[in-house]
């Protein structure tokens, strides 16, 4: 399989006062905290949701993808959290669209795969700087 260089999807910095529900498109890089209509294309699917709080509370980030995860053994999307409210601050995760969620750290390690909703990943989430979908 040809690897055309990993294209990291990067969240913009400086959104400390963002609304509680934000959307990020892993295919286009579009990001908005004022409605999914600003981010998703008609054919996009949800890949995952992560929350700052446990039990799916707090600020929510919905990650959209062009299609569901093909389960081909590859990491299909990498979302750098930069200095958003989710960086080192994920309390719960929900994989969607046949995806598994990995929580990656800045030392190169990662935890996962989360194949099912997990209402409390706070012990790992406090080190997480990147969300990966596979």
């Amino acid at each position: 399989m040809a690897v055309a260089g990993a294209l990291l999807a990067v969240l913009p910095a400086g959104v400390a006062n963002a609304a509680a529900n934000c959307d990020f498109n892993a295919g286009t890089g579009a990001y908005s905290c004022s409605g999914q209509q600003n981010v998703k294309l008609p054919s996009d699917v949800v890949g995952a949701r992560v929350y700052t709080g446990t039990y799916y509370e707090g600020d929510r980030l919905t990650i959209w993808a062009p299609k569901d995860c093909p389960k081909d053994g590859w990491v299909n999307h990498q979302v750098r959290l930069n200095n958003t409210q989710w960086a080192r601050n994920i309390g719960s995760v929900q994989p969607f669209g046949q995806c598994a969620v990995w929580l990656a750290f800045d030392n190169g390690g990662r935890e996962g795969p989360y194949e099912k909703d997990n209402s409390n990943v706070a012990d790992i989430g406090r080190y997480t700087v990147e969300v990966q979908l596979s």
Binding site: V3, L7, G27, V45, Y56, K67, D68, Q94, N118, S119
Partner: protein
């Protein structure tokens, strides 16, 4: 904690080639030609190849449902007596779309799995629950007994995946609020002293 090695990464360019189709169906914003939430859930329920996954949002919300008068008891003796009253009843599961949750099907399985996974609770089937009330009733006194089910409410989003497109899409998302009973919940009671009619 287990750490997997960082694996191969696929360039995002390759991802744009194939498009799966999906649309978000907000309950309040359905166009005339789009299915209702009930239709979508029924379609998922009756299609054995479909996946009906529920993703909760927030903690479970516990409360007591509608209280209703279930009995009237009178102590016509001249001394206090302890009233022992048993109330039985079933509490079903309902949601904002009026979907009929029959347990052991795709949709209800998706719900019970989600509640077990996220909250380590059992979402009860429609089984009968019996609770007992014990209360002292004074001489020549009558009481009305009211009972209401202890219920659990959960918010969340359905993720419905069809092998063949339904209403033009493989994926449908549906926000929902579901109400029913989880493990440990029974009936709540209260009593009210009223005028005797038999003493």
């Amino acid at each position: 904690m287990t750490f997997a090695p960082r694996t191969k990464t696929l360039g995002a360019l390759a991802l744009a080639v194939t498009a799966a189709f999906s649309v978000l169906a907000a309950p309040s914003a359905l166009a005339a030609d789009e299915p209702t939430g009930k239709q979508l859930l029924e379609a998922c329920n009756t299609d054995s190849s479909a996946t009906c996954k529920f993703h909760p949002s927030g903690p479970l919300d516990y409360s007591v449902g509608q209280m209703a008068k279930v009995s009237h008891q009178e102590n016509c003796t001249s001394s206090p007596s302890t009233l022992v009253y048993e109330h039985s009843g079933t509490v079903g599961t309902k949601n904002i779309y009026g979907f009929n949750f029959s347990f052991g099907t795709n949709v209800s399985n998706g719900l019970t799995a989600a509640i077990a996974t996220s909250y380590q609770k059992e979402w009860y089937k429609e089984s009968k629950v019996t609770s007992q009330l014990r209360q002292d009733v004074g001489p020549k006194t009558a009481v009305d007994i009211y009972a209401g089910p202890q219920i659990t409410r959960v918010n969340g989003r359905w993720e419905l995946l069809f092998k063949e497109p339904k209403w033009g899409h493989y994926y449908w998302y549906l926000d929902d609020t579901i109400e029913g009973r989880t493990s440990g919940q029974q009936w709540s009671f209260y009593t009210q002293n009223v005028r005797t009619t038999k003493c």
